[in-house]
């Protein structure tokens, strides 16, 4: 379980997170929606300390971490028990696909090269990227790179995987294959927090949807409730712009 309480973050005078609290249960898939600037990505990044939140606390397993002055040990603990999938893939440019997936297994989890390679190949097989294991990131399409990015996160067997708009840098054609892989990961029962604009994906996969705007959580609930019976006017406005009205007609 991961529970954030009273998270605040400002960039200069701009207050990006104004007292945000969310809770995600084990095995739950939570999708965070919201317009740009709503703070959803910042929230996700603060969980992994890629962004340093100003205040608030995080409860994870039996640990309680204060965002104001987190211990180095706790930051490392969080990073070693969560995976992160980046919007722009973030594959190590100087390493092959296989080396990208093996890096954490060998360097962080101290597995033998042999064991790491076995795990990496298995995970790459699952995302359909085994044939490309000796390619460099620059030789792959965006969708292929993102599948490797997902494999790199999954291989480490984290308790939670954080997805930061995993498909928004992709060509429309490549979104589908990437979402399929994420769905497959979701079915393994791992806890996931996904920031995305893909509504149909959210509807299919999410156990719960959180709608954020202006640095606060506006509304949360089951995808069906949020999408078809939103309680808040702001949620309705946002959805009406994202989901074309004709979509329901067809």
């Amino acid at each position: 379980m991961i529970e954030l309480t009273g998270v605040k973050k400002s960039f200069g005078k701009q207050e990006v997170l104004k007292d945000v609290s969310i809770k995600v249960d084990d095995g739950e898939v939570v999708v965070i929606l919201g317009p740009s600037g709503s703070g959803k990505t910042t929230l996700l990044r603060s969980i992994n300390f890629l962004e340093k939140a100003d205040s608030g606390t995080m409860k994870f397993s039996d640990k309680i971490i204060n965002f104001k002055n987190p211990k180095k040990k706790d930051i490392l603990y969080m990073r070693r028990h969560t995976g992160f999938v980046f919007q722009n893939y973030g594959l190590f440019a100087h390493k092959t696909v296989l080396q990208n997936v093996m890096e954490g297994l060998v360097q962080v989890q101290k597995k033998s090269k042999q064991e790491a390679q076995q795990i990496a190949e298995e995970v790459l097989q699952n995302v359909g990227m085994l044939e490309k294991k000796d390619s460099y990131p620059s030789q792959l399409s965006g969708g292929q790179q993102q599948r490797v990015g997902i494999a790199r996160a999954v291989a480490l067997k984290p308790e939670v995987i954080l997805f930061d708009e995993p498909t928004s840098a992709l060509d429309p054609e490549l979104v589908g294959e990437t979402l399929e892989v994420i769905k497959k990961v979701a079915k393994t029962g791992i806890t996931m927090i996904v920031v995305t604009h893909e509504m149909s994906f959210a509807e299919d996969v999410a156990d719960r949807v959180i709608f954020m705007d202006g640095g606060v959580v506006v509304e949360e609930g089951k995808p069906g409730e949020i999408f078809y019976k939103p309680k808040e006017e702001r949620t309705r406005q946002f959805l009406s712009r994202i989901i074309p009205q004709d979509a329901y007609v067809i």
């Binding site: 992994n48 722009n88 893939y89 100087h94 996160a153």
Partner: protein, 236 residues
């Protein structure tokens, strides 16, 4: 040309001039080795942005880049014995005035390279996209692991061509040392000219040696670049 340039004299002086090449290479080797080490510290310290140190390093870099190398060599040659002379004599029993001039030349080039290479390294490190470090952190690597395993190898690739250009520059700048009485390629050419009354052959020999060796260095670095890029070079 007639009397001014004689091929015979040229063939005669060439071996004499090239026999001084080791002096230049010695300077290049030690200046680059120690200058590179100094530059790594300069680059890393500059990136850490420690308040006072950062300002001092900025000043140091401005000085090194804002004054001619020859002036820096003069200051090292005449200034170091004045400032540190008594200290060295009392503490280590070394009389700085008796040291080979080449040592002061090397100190000047090392300090100069610390600044120039330091900025090259700093630029190379900052050219690696932030997401590369973030990806390293996200899989649980420590800051040091991420820097050494993810950032440095990519920065290295960016820095290599600039390093090659800089190295050739240092090699050519060694020609300044004869101003301080160090008999290098150019110094030898000049003394031969003064003794024989025929100056041009010696200088042409020196020029040819400079060109040949510079091209050699350039070729070597192209080879390294090619080897490093093997298959992939494009950074995301």
């Amino acid at each position: 040309m007639g009397n001014y340039f004689s091929l015979e004299r040229f063939i005669h002086v060439f071996p004499k001039v090239i026999s001084s090449l080791p002096v230049n290479l010695h300077i290049v080797f030690w200046s680059m080795l120690l200058g590179t080490i100094l530059a790594v510290f300069v680059a890393v310290l500059r990136l850490q942005r420690v308040p006072v140190i950062s300002g001092l390093l900025g000043l140091y870099i401005s000085f090194m880049r804002g004054t001619p190398l020859l002036v820096q060599m003069m200051i090292a040659f005449y200034g170091i014995p004045i400032v540190l002379g008594t200290v060295f004599l009392n503490l280590f029993g070394i009389n700085l005035n008796r040291l080979e001039p080449v040592i002061f030349v090397e100190i000047a080039i090392i300090l100069n390279e610390g600044a120039f290479l330091g900025e090259i390294f700093r630029g190379a490190i900052t050219s690696v996209p932030a997401v590369q470090s973030e990806a390293g952190y996200s899989i649980g690597m420590t800051g040091a692991q991420t820097f050494v395993r993810i950032v440095l190898p990519q920065a290295f690739k960016v820095a290599i061509p600039h390093y090659g250009v800089d190295l050739i520059g240092v090699f050519q700048n060694t020609s300044l040392v004869f101003m301080l009485g160090v008999v290098d390629l150019l110094g030898r050419a000049k003394t031969i000219g003064a003794a024989s009354g025929h100056t041009i052959e010696g200088y042409v020999a020196a020029a040819l040696i400079y060109i040949a060796f510079s091209l050699l260095l350039k070729g070597a670095f192209l080879l390294i670049e090619k080897k490093l890029s093997g298959g992939e070079i494009k950074l995301v």
